[in-house]
């Protein structure tokens, strides 16, 4: 009788230990992937904002997000920058959730996270052929890539 209870106890505690190990592993994995959330959000924004742009232009759009995170004038997190009210048309009209990012957009987001910045530290980008507010033209334009201009 006591031996079966013991065995059950042993089996029970083994199962418990295994579950605990698995849970810890899951939690740690989640931690290690902390930046994956940023990468996915960035890729979505790139897909929505820079669709049909050359690859350099896609990386530059992602870089603008990261430069904003580094700037004191903008929110200090990737999600804060992307969801800043009125900052991006594709966020305001929900386009970023309707389009799943292409492989190119994902790889552009990763390149930008690795520090590749073809916009050279720019904080703004816009399409000059579309109506934009006048004040934005007062920024110094650093470079033009595809249909977008990038400015500090």
């Amino acid at each position: 009788m006591s031996s079966t209870t013991k065995r059950m106890l042993i089996v029970g505690s083994t199962v418990f230990a295994l579950v605990a190990v698995v849970m810890v592993a899951v939690v740690l994995r989640g931690d290690a992937q902390g930046r994956a959330g940023d990468a996915n959000l960035l890729a979505r924004l790139v897909a929505a904002e820079a669709d049909g742009e050359p690859y350099q232009g896609m990386v530059a759009v992602a870089s603008v997000m990261l430069n904003r995170v580094e700037s004191a004038k903008f929110p200090n997190t990737v999600s804060g920058v992307i969801f800043q009210p009125g900052a991006f048309e594709s966020v305001s009209n929900g386009l970023i959730w309707r389009r799943s990012p292409s492989r190119q957009a994902v790889s552009a987001a990763r390149d930008a996270l690795n520090g590749y910045d073809p916009s050279y530290g720019c904080l703004f980008f816009w399409n000059p052929s579309k109506p934009v507010s006048g004040w934005i033209w007062s920024r110094t334009i650093a470079v033009r890539i595809g249909k977008h201009v990038f400015a500090r």
Partner: protein, 487 residues
């Protein structure tokens, strides 16, 4: 934002329409003058539908508005707390209390910044206030660290804290003016958001809600604009942005020469490529952007190469092509990157780390001078893992900071530095000297002993200043699900 509200409204409306039609079908069969009855029913159905739409939209507007109200009132609280904590930091006589007060400033200021930036007001109106809040928090953090290190606060630090306190009082006053409007519930945030999206300048004298909010924040922002540029030891300090690149040396080149340089630089034979200047980069490092277009059916990829106008250095190179599944490992990729670097004349560069991202490897190389790893002088090479081709090259860091350095002899030996490490760290590699970037005003770099070790199963790099023995930085190596390699 308004679009989203509409979409959601339509969904709710669609349900109402469905039930309306069901009612029509039932009654249409029995009545004698059925066209008239049908019309009446249709009218009722559309009214019900419209009302359902309208209430759904109202509810969503209120929900969205409440979110903004929450951010706004949180912002008021945060700014008030920043003001109080700044005063406390000035009054506290003991380092223990001062560190506490400064930490409060840091926390409250960063929350204030986050809340401010989630309001639906044009960025133009908020930029300065946002920058001020970030810098107040950043400065408080740096000063708290200083006080905790038993260093004295300088007179300048003291003056800055006093000015920040005064400035935050103005900020709190400006916000209090808007608080009255907000508390009376007169602010319609959805309209504020619509106005911000339209970018219409506020009309003088008009007092509708969007103008009140925009005017209020414009005034607040103007008061902050009088704040002097802040130069202190911190990552958001103004001097970081003002730093000039020192690695761009040589004589000016013209665009033809830039194309020549780009053609020779790319890791394949580009003699048949069409080279042209695609644009110019007007950044801290002015450059020509050269595009190399492959002749049709040559099977070669296109490339973009940025060549500096001064000295003709290559800043960025990118080769766009599709990558097949992985065939080579990280060691082989590092070897390929090494060969490429020596071919372009970047000698005495050593790889420190390699990581696999998707089907490519990203390998940072740093400049090594007399055995010292100079981390600011970094170039990054991207290698395709299908055949080992070089895909991109990035020397922005190198060109920004590389110069002839006089490295002083460490006044602390490796063994002495090792004594200063945490007992929780098990050192796993022999220590080496490294120059790392630091955010101080006097010098952007510090010579440190680099220790690599493990603690609780995780990998760390710890840097101990070789002159002062201060622990400068602790970096954790975050392993991705894909492979990585430390060298």
């Amino acid at each position: 934002m308004a679009d989203e509200v509409n979409n959601a409204g339509e969904n709710v409306g669609a349900v109402g329409e469905g039930t309306g039609e069901a009612g029509t079908a039932r009654s249409g069969g029995t009545a004698a003058n059925w066209p008239g009855a049908l019309l009446v029913l249709l009218l009722i159905a559309s009214l019900v539908f419209g009302y359902a739409q309208w209430t759904a939209r109202r509810r969503l507007e209120v929900a969205v508005g409440n979110q903004y109200f929450s951010s706004f009132f949180d912002l008021l609280g945060n700014v008030d707390n920043v003001r109080v904590a700044l005063s406390k930091s000035l009054v506290s006589g003991s380092p223990r209390l001062r560190v506490g007060a400064l930490s409060d400033v840091w926390r409250e200021a960063s929350n204030a910044q986050a809340n401010l930036n989630s309001l639906p007001v044009t960025h133009k109106v908020l930029a300065k206030t946002s920058a001020f809040l970030t810098q107040v928090g950043d400065f408080a953090f740096v000063t708290a660290r200083k006080v905790a290190n038993q260093q004295m606060m300088s007179d300048d630090d003291w003056d800055r804290l006093v000015k920040m306190k005064e400035q935050s009082e103005d900020l709190a006053k400006g916000l209090a003016g808007m608080e009255a409007e907000a508390s009376s519930g007169r602010i319609n945030w959805v309209r504020v958001a619509e106005q911000a999206n339209k970018e219409v300048p506020a009309k003088a004298g008009s007092k509708s809600t969007p103008e009140v909010v925009t005017d209020g924040f414009t005034k607040v922002d103007e008061s902050v604009q009088q704040f002097p540029t802040l130069i202190y030891d911190g990552p958001f300090s103004d001097h970081i942005e003002a730093r000039k690149p020192v690695g761009v040396t040589g004589a000016p080149i013209d665009s033809t020469r830039a194309i020549e340089i780009a053609r020779k630089f790319v890791p394949f034979d580009a003699s048949a490529h069409t080279g042209k200047i695609e644009g110019e980069v007007d950044s801290k490092i002015p450059a020509y952007r050269v595009s190399l277009e492959a002749p049709k059916k040559s099977g070669k990829p296109d490339a973009i190469v940025d060549v500096t106008k001064t000295g003709g250095h290559v800043v960025l190179m990118n080769i766009a092509r599709d990558i097949d599944p992985k065939k080579i490992d990280l060691e082989a990729a590092v070897a390929r990157a090494n060969v490429f670097l020596s071919k372009i004349g970047m000698t005495s560069m050593k790889p420190t780390f390699a990581s696999e991202v998707g089907d490519v490897a990203v390998i940072p190389f740093v400049w090594v001078q007399d055995g010292v790893y100079v981390y600011p002088d970094m170039v990054k090479v991207k290698v395709a893992l299908d055949n080992g081709d070089i895909l991109s090259y990035d020397s922005l860091g190198f060109l920004t900071s590389h110069h002839a350095r006089k490295l002083s002899k460490p006044s602390i030996e490796a063994d002495e530095a090792k004594e200063l490490l945490s007992p929780a760290l098990t050192v796993s590699a022999p220590p080496r000297l490294a120059v790392i970037p630091v955010e101080t005003v006097d010098t952007p770099e510090a010579l440190c002993w680099e220790f690599r070790g493990t603690s609780f199963g995780e990998d760390f790099f710890v840097y101990i200043d070789a002159a002062s023995g201060v622990e400068e930085k602790v970096l954790q190596l975050i392993k991705t699900s894909e492979g990585s390699l430390t060298m």
